[in-house]
């Protein structure tokens, strides 16, 4: 049975349309024009225990809206969510006991307390027993090195420290599921690395299931065994990054440079795109032929001075997926 099951989920917001200019402003004072904005449009997916899923999409795609519904702080317009068999809407208090949620842009730590006091408060809120609390705190310290600033008031923490504090706070009650909404936003390289290490470690040590939204390619490549890509409220892609690359950008490009001008042959498994004097360009399907094979075959015909392989950039592939393109052009 999947740990998280989402079925035909829809969320519509009612937004008040603001009129343009003075006339519009006066008009909207008298009569508020309402508009329905569908942020999440019939999405379905299931997530198994222990997966790390990247939930990605352009700004405004509906990622945060989905995460909020999954965590029970937003009601869906229609559709169903089950987390470990329970609905976060109907059983909010029970579901959140099993949930860690971190929003990169909004800290949940108590700003008036020291970080350690915030943890102590959470210990009491979630009724965590002493042993479990100490164990989890030690583990979080080993991964995130929070002892350096555990006595600092939360309001004085740097963004990176605060983020690490938020992550540790989310794991104190040993939740099975962790939602991270843009956890690396605004962090420097070290900060990002700390967060990635954290996700990998809790997944390895505690088999925590993680859903994270991010715009960071490093996060996606390093962490996510599976990507769910959402665009304009609908899921456009659900699978591994390598499958996505294979499908959207199955080709690689080989640039060859020769010592002297010679007509290069047409290879049965690679397409010769062009040749200008000593420089030639081939495009090949990486599933049909390897680069090494291709180079070996070509060297039978001429003396090669240099070569260079070009691959589609992950960024371009993901952008193509956002725009629902079947194939990446250019490469």
């Amino acid at each position: 049975m999947p740990l998280i099951k989402v079925n035909d989920l829809v969320k519509e917001y009612t937004v008040i349309k603001k009129g343009k200019g003075l006339k519009g402003a006066l008009k909207s004072l008298l009569h508020k024009e309402k508009e329905i904005l569908r942020a999440v449009n019939h999405i379905s997916f299931s997530i198994q225990h222990g997966e790390i899923v990247g939930y990605i999409g352009p700004n405004g795609a509906g990622k945060s809206t989905t995460v909020k519904m999954l965590s029970g702080i937003l009601s869906p317009t229609s559709g169903e969510i089950l987390i470990d068999g329970l609905s976060p809407q109907k059983d909010r208090k029970r579901v959140v006991q099993n949930l860690g949620v971190v929003f990169g842009q909004r800290s949940q730590l108590n700003w008036d307390l020291r970080l350690g006091e915030s943890f102590e408060l959470l210990k009491r809120i979630y009724r965590i027993d002493d042993r479990q609390y100490q164990e989890n705190l030690a583990m979080m310290d080993a991964i995130l090195e929070i002892h350096k600033f555990i006595h600092t008031p939360v309001r004085q923490l740097s963004l990176g420290q605060r983020m690490r504090g938020d992550l540790a706070a989310a794991m104190l009650h040993s939740p099975q599921v962790l939602f991270l909404d843009e956890p690396t936003i605004g962090l420097d390289v070290d900060g990002k690395q700390a967060i990635r290490k954290f996700v990998k470690e809790i997944n390895r040590l505690k088999q925590t299931t993680v859903i994270l939204t991010t715009h960071d390619l490093g996060d996606i490549q390093e962490l996510c065994s599976r990507l769910i890509i959402i665009s304009e409220g609908t899921i456009v892609e659900d699978g591994s990054l390598s499958d996505l690359i294979d499908r959207i950008a199955p080709y690689r490009i080989l640039h060859v440079e020769l010592y002297e001008e010679a007509e290069l042959p047409i290879h049965p498994l690679a397409e010769k795109i062009r040749q200008d004097g000593t420089a030639a360009v081939y495009r090949f399907d990486k599933k049909k032929v390897t680069a090494a094979q291709l180079i070996e075959d070509l060297s039978c015909f001429c003396k090669m001075k240099d070569f260079r392989l070009e691959e589609a950039r992950i960024e371009d592939i993901i952008r193509a997926a956002y725009h629902k393109k079947e194939k990446l052009e250019g490469v």
Binding site: Y13, I73, R106, Q108, D112, L121, R124, I125
Partner: protein, 263 residues
């Protein structure tokens, strides 16, 4: 219960950390209470009593009013407003705990500290320089404690309700300021309402404010008959119930709004 007691404790500890703030606030309060006592001494002149209240009773009333004022300070309204403005209100729903319980106990922690740090010095200064603020009797004192606890609840609920206004109004702070002045004027904390014109007193008897200051203070100085005391404390209690129901209703509405419209 445990998270609530913990938050009260942390609140007390962190209040103790701000020593300098405390010192300056004590000085200001003492100056204020001495000034208003001199005002009453001048106003009474050679008269021993005015409208059935003796000069010493009036001075006790004034000292106790300042003491009560430092115990009735609370932070819940600013808490709610800040969390609405930061956009983190919805996130409070993520915790398996009642966030208003946390706010209430935070405030109760602050009261305990304010008692030690502000109320006690104020009473001492009052006793030394003005008048020993003694209650009419031990029974009056106990009733005063009960009535002051009710006052606290009324005041807290009004503050929480005003705080929840920040869901509708963007600039809430001027409103909170106005609320503070309104309570100060209409509750009899500065000038007892018996000096107000009759029609205004009638109007004010339908509002909760006089039950915040004037009632417990009148009980303390012993100017109410047992029947009046019982009747007014009954009304005080009804105000708690009314405001409490209103609070829960509005809280339900706000939660529904958050769940549907997002925070």
């Amino acid at each position: 219960m445990r998270p609530y007691l913990y938050i009260a404790k942390v609140r007390m500890l962190s209040a103790l950390a701000y020593r300098f703030d405390v010192l300056s606030s004590i000085v200001i309060q003492c100056l204020a209470v001495i000034a208003s006592c001199f005002f009453w001494i001048a106003a009474y002149g050679n008269q021993q009593a005015a409208l059935g209240v003796t000069r010493d009773q009036m001075l006790t009333y004034t000292v106790m009013s300042s003491t009560l004022a430092c115990l009735l300070t609370m932070n819940v309204e600013n808490r709610i407003a800040a969390s609405v403005q930061k956009g983190s209100v919805a996130l409070d729903l993520l915790k398996p705990v009642n966030i208003f319980g946390i706010y209430l106990w935070e405030d109760i922690g602050s009261v305990a500290i304010a008692f030690l740090q502000n109320a006690v010095p104020l009473l001492l200064i009052g006793a030394l320089f003005i008048v020993a603020p003694v209650p009419a009797s031990a029974a009056h004192f106990l009733l005063f404690i009960l009535s002051a606890a009710f006052s606290y609840m009324i005041n807290w609920l009004i503050a929480a309700l005003f705080g929840m206004w920040s869901f509708r109004i963007v600039r809430i702070f001027p409103l909170l300021c106005m609320k503070g002045h309104m309570i100060r004027l209409l509750s009899g904390s500065v000038i007892p309402l018996w000096f107000f014109p009759q029609w205004l007193q009638t109007v004010l008897s339908f509002l909760p404010f006089r039950y915040i200051y004037q009632l417990p203070l009148s009980v303390y100085i012993g100017i109410l008959s047992p029947r009046e005391t019982a009747a007014q404390m009954g009304i005080q209690f009804i105000w708690i119930l009314l405001l409490g129901c209103l609070f829960f209703e509005i809280k339900k509405g706000v939660t529904r709004h958050l769940l549907v419209q997002g925070g």
